[in-house]
Amino acid sequence: MSQSLGLAGLGEPGLIAVFVSAILFAIGVIGVMIRRNAIIVFMCIELMLNAANIALVAFSRMHGVEGQIFVFFVMAVAAAEAAVGLAIIIAIFRHYEVVDLDRFRLLKW
Amino acid sequence: MAIYDSHWILTLLILIPVFGGMACLVLPEARAKHVALVTTTVLFVLSLPLFWTFDQSEAGFQNVVSIPWIDAWGISYSVGIDGISILMVLLTTFIMPLAVAGSFSYITKRERAFYAMLLFLTTGMIGVFVALDLFLFYVFWEIMLIPMYFLIGVWGGERRIYSAVKFFLYTAAGSLLMLVAIVALAYLNHTATGTWSFAYDEFLALEIAGRTQLWLFTGFALAFAIKVPMFPFHTWLPDAHVEAPTAGSVVLAGVLLKMGIYGFLRFALPLLPQAATHPTVLSVMLMLGLIGILYGAWVAAVQPDAKKLVAYTSVAHLGFIVIGVFGLTTQGIEGGILQMVNHGVSTGALFLLIGMLYERRHTREIADFGGIAKVMPVFAFALVVVGLSSIGLPGTNGFVGEFLILVGTFQTHPWIAAIAATGVIFAACYMLPMVQRMLFNSLDRDENRQLLDLNRRERLILVPFLVLIVLMGVWPGPFLNRTRASVDALLVRMQTAGTVGAEVVRQRQEPPPVAFRSNAEGE
């Protein structure tokens, strides 16, 4: 299975970039799981998005510019997400005076 | 009348209660009981001529019709009656007006819904007994469940929710297996003939491999065994009975418990004769029946609650019927059918009597009574007669059924029948102490001294039961005659298609060792 991915086309920096991407993503995941503060969790999500961007850019070295186009859209969505997300956090904070995720059970009726 | 030659009588019997039930729902609360009583009485009067118009020499179905319903799947509205179902239909229409009348003063809340439920239940019950399309049968079978669930769950006693849910889940679990078996039959039929059909006749013509038969039989048997109920699937029964309102108990014991046996006789046996006559299957069913007889009686004997006691006696009685049916002899099956009617009559009456007492004292604990024969002589008389019928005293209907069952089963399974015969001892061990502790002994409680004897309505309700108890005890001929042709046909089918059935019928066809009968006829 792994062979068929053909990572060799990335070149050495590209390969490193994919590794970095994976490690950053894992760090982001750890962050999401071990933090309670909604804002930091949010930041970790940004980190994960960024990790994904690294991988996409690395792949664009092999497959052409489409990777970068993709990153462009990811950033646009991330920006929108950041705006809405932060607004939600503000709204929640107004209501609960706290941004501790464990204190909310808003997903359960 | 012409309708008795056509299916219309059966269709009317199915439809009238539906309309009656709807009328109950829309008319004023105070009128509901009267509407229900009139509807059920009309139903009974309408159904009664069937007893005479029924051609007892005909083994097949009568008053038959088959109208396509869901054509794509070959599902049709097919109804008809034969010797196995006629008595069941009449038992249903007989019990219902009495159950309704017995609820007049018992039910005081949500009367409209209550009587509507009773009437919808009637439709379901009659439908089950007359349906000749297995899909239709299944629909009626499930329709029956819903009103009963509400009857227990809404108008029941303290633990009504638990009991209602237990009743529902137990029964639904069984009937789903049955649905699987029915669909499998339809599939087999499709494979064999290329057309979809759920018709009973089509399935009868089907040739099914022995192993498949066993699986299908298991599906049917579980559904029916739960409904009967056979040990060890019986524990829903005492709870349901104890919590159900009187009418619910009467219908439950009087009619619903018969569905299981009826299912065996109508579907499981004739459709799957090889499985049904498989020695292992036979011995399992007979053993469970036997255990039911003894176990039901034993547990009944130590019950402190009168209604629960009667509920357990049902387990014992139905155990008798099971061994009668699976004894696979004419006497056993005819006795079983007769005993179904008997059980409906005597246990129905017992539940009514206990309900009448409950209305007065709001307790069913046997220990709360004692000596009430002094203040309620008419009640005492009725309870003794009905109780004796329940334990099968000769001269009452209970004896005829039990005797035929035991005689029949003894010919094929002597040990089972012999052990089952000891059930008569235990029957006395549960019924007499109950009668004594309620009616006899000293009247030492003040609450009991003020008890009023049965009023006119209650007496009128009991009269039909008492008449039937004696009539069927001394002259069961008319009832037995109507079952004969169909039962014989069933046995012949079991013989030709079954494995051990052959043995049974060969035995029957041999001339009896002694060639002569009673002198009276010879001379």
Binding site: V32, F104, L106 | I425, A427, C429, V514
Partner: protein
């Protein structure tokens, strides 16, 4: 010969005269009185007329038929078909009445003695509030008893068999507000049902063997159909005998009968002495041919009979309740009858059945008269609560001879009859049984029967002495109140006693065997029943069983009859003289006996034994079935499945915490899973 008289009638065919009337009269009586119990509860005139009237009417019809039969030459049975009862497959059971010599005889006894007891009851029960109900039950009993003896098939007989059990149950518990009485009725019914189960199974076996359950074909073809001494016939007969031990109170199912004395005394006389309890003997006589084919069963019947006779007699010696003495005496006498039918002397058994019906009914009615009187004396005379003990207790009687001379004489007639003193009725019947027991080669049983005869004389004399002789103790030892309050019973009660006394005296003369070497010998009874027992006797003869004309220790019939009557007389005289001299404490003063007497007084502790060995373990088992099997195991599983489902749902619900992080963890794990599987 006297018997010639009966034979010389024209040999016309016998046809039953209005056979259904025999049953209809008591049934109508029961129905009318039953309605009366609800509708005209306080009217005593109707039941007083209808109750005995129905019986007398039935008796007249029976008598007509009897005369008709004796003037005809009837061989075999005449069946009167009423309607078809059960018809299913090969099985056909009609409501058929069988008229033959045996059933006619039984009908005569039932309606005859029954009529007398009904008449007696009118006076005895006069003050009871349940007067109408009482006659309803009593008439119903007679109806069922007549079905029992007239039924032409086993199932129909079974109808009567259980029907009389029902009436017995109702009448024992007649005064149902007394818990002990109600218990006694229940016990009678349940114990009887044990036997009935045996009866049922025997019926099934008979049906399988013969394809019919009618008596006539079974009796006629039994010899050819069943192997002599075969397993099948032995099983059938043993199971039938199990039924008999229940109904006729033999070991091991006898315990209900002493308790059954809770019922009104005329009931004890009719049901528990004269008629119902002899049903077992009747059954064996009816199916004698089957028993003749099963020597093992015969041995069992004879041994159980003899054993019961001796066993019950020993208990009777130490009882103080007058009715209990008579109850055990009944059990003992029934043992004699079973001994007779067991050794193959069917006629002797039926003969003793008949004479016993006379003298035991008389004894019970006499005892009833005493009890009635004592009861009244206490009610009307005694302001002193101290004296209100048990009117049945003989220690509260004594010296009744002076107040109730008629009753006293009649009771002595019965006592001498049961003791077997010639020429009273009991002598002839009992002597024939003892003689046959020896003659058919059962020396031990013969000895037991002789010993029991002596014991019988002893306990009966003890009863007479304690009740009628000595000083009156009803109001204590020194009171003279007795003279003021104790009277002879009214004519309505003593006249039936008188009639029974005459029958107890002459009843045995229908059968005076040749072997006694008396100037006159009558074999009418033997001749009358001959057609009924012919098949059985033929079977016995085929297999080489004959009566030896000598006792096991030598000597002819006449010698041993003389010896036995002499023994009886000696026993009576010795007991009388011994006990008369002895002072009897009143019930209140008495202390329970000690030693062996205590064992007899407490009836060998059989009731206690049954309670410990059977009743309590059964109840424990049943309770276990309920609490453990039903509630704990089955419902445990059922509820467990329910709980398990709920638990699963709860666990699923826990995952749905509503916390973002939980969902994130789930999401990540899901991603890992998908990648792990697909990657």
């Amino acid at each position: 010969m006297v018997s010639q008289v009966f034979q010389e009638g024209a040999a016309t065919n016998f046809h039953p005269v209005l056979p259904f009337l025999i049953l209809l009269f008591p049934l109508l009586g029961a129905l009318i009185n039953g309605c009366g119990a609800f509708l005209w509860r306080n009217d005593k005139m109707v039941p007083a007329l209808i109750g005995p009237g129905a019986l007398i009417a039935a008796f007249i019809v029976v008598l007509l038929n009897f005369l008709g039969m004796s003037s005809a030459e009837l061989h075999g049975a005449e069946i009167s078909h009423l309607w078809t009862w059960i018809e299913s497959g090969d099985l056909r059971i009609g409501v058929d009445l069988q008229f033959d010599q045996l059933s006619m005889l039984m009908c005569l006894i039932i309606t005859g003695v029954g009529s007398l007891i009904h008449i007696y009851s009118v006076a005895y029960m006069r003050e009871d509030p349940g007067f109408s109900r009482y006659f309803a039950y009593l008439n119903l009993f007679v109806f069922f008893m007549l079905i029992l003896v007239l039924g032409a098939s086993l199932p129909l007989m079974f109808v009567g068999w259980e029907g009389v059990g029902l009436c017995s149950y109702l009448l024992i518990g007649f005064w149902y507000d007394n818990k002990d009485f109600a218990n006694a009725g229940k016990k009678a019914f349940i114990v009887n049902r044990i036997g009935d189960a045996g009866f049922l199974i025997a019926m099934f076996m008979l049906y399988v063997a013969f394809g019919t359950l009618d008596f006539v074909p079974i009796v006629e073809s039994a010899g050819g159909q069943l192997a002599y001494g075969g397993l099948l016939v032995t099983g059938i007969t043993l199971l039938l005998f199990l039924g008999c031990t229940g109904k006729s109170a033999q070991i091991p199912l006898y315990t209900w009968l002493p308790d059954a004395m809770a019922g009104p005394t005329p009931v004890s006389a009719l049901i528990h002495a004269a008629t119902m309890v002899t049903a077992g003997v009747y059954l064996i006589a009816r199916l004698s041919v089957l028993f003749a084919l099963a020597p093992v069963s015969q041995g069992v019947v004879a041994a159980v009979g003899a054993g019961t006779a001796l066993f019950a007699a020993t208990i009777a010696i130490q009882q103080y309740d007058i009715k209990k003495v008579l109850a055990y005496s009944t059990i003992s006498q029934l043992g004699y009858m079973f001994l007779a039918v067991g050794v193959g002397a069917y006629t002797a058994g039926v003969f003793h059945l008949m004479t016993h019906a006379f003298f035991k009914a008389l004894l019970f009615l006499g005892a009833g008269a005493v009890i009635h009187t004592v009861h009244h004396a206490w009610d009307h005379g005694g302001g002193d609560a101290h004296h209100h003990g048990d009117p049945n207790d003989m220690r509260n009687h004594g010296g009744m001879k002076a107040f109730m001379p008629k009753t006293w004489i009649f009771m002595w007639v019965a006592t001498l009859a049961i003791a077997g003193v010639a020429p009273f009725a009991g002598f002839f019947s009992k002597d024939e049984i003892i003689w046959n027991a020896g003659g058919f080669g059962y020396p031990i049983l013969w000895g037991v029967a002789l010993v029991t005869a002596v014991l019988t004389a002893i306990y009966m004399t003890r009863l007479m002495v304690m009740t009628f002789h000595g000083k009156n103790r009803t109001f204590g030892h020194d009171s003279t109140d007795g003279a003021k309050h104790i009277h002879e019973v009214p004519a309505l009660m003593w006249v039936p006693l008188g009639v029974l006394a005459v029958l107890s005296f002459v009843g045995g003369w229908v059968n005076i065997p040749e072997g006694l070497s008396l100037p006159i010998h009558v074999d009418w009874f033997h001749h009358w029943l001959e057609p009924v027992f012919e098949p059985a006797l033929l079977v016995a003869e085929e297999h080489g069983i004959h009566v030896a004309h000598a006792s096991p220790v030598g000597g002819g019939e006449a010698l041993w009859a003389g010896i036995s009557t002499l023994l009886a007389v000696i026993a009576v005289v010795v007991t009388f003289r011994t006990l008369r001299a002895r002072a009897v404490p009143t019930e209140a003063e008495a202390t329970p006996p000690t030693g062996f007497a205590r064992l007899l007084y407490d009836k060998w502790y059989v009731d206690e034994l049954y309670d410990r060995m059977i009743v309590r373990p059964s109840l424990a088992l049943w309770r276990g079935c309920w609490k453990i099997v039903d509630t704990a195991i089955i419902d445990g599983i059922v509820n467990g499945v329910g709980q398990g489902t709920k638990l699963l749902g709860w666990a699923g619900g826990q995952i749905q915490s509503g916390r973002v992080t939980t969902y994130l963890v789930m999401f990540m794990l899901g991603v890992l899973l998908v990648l792990g599987v697909l990657g």
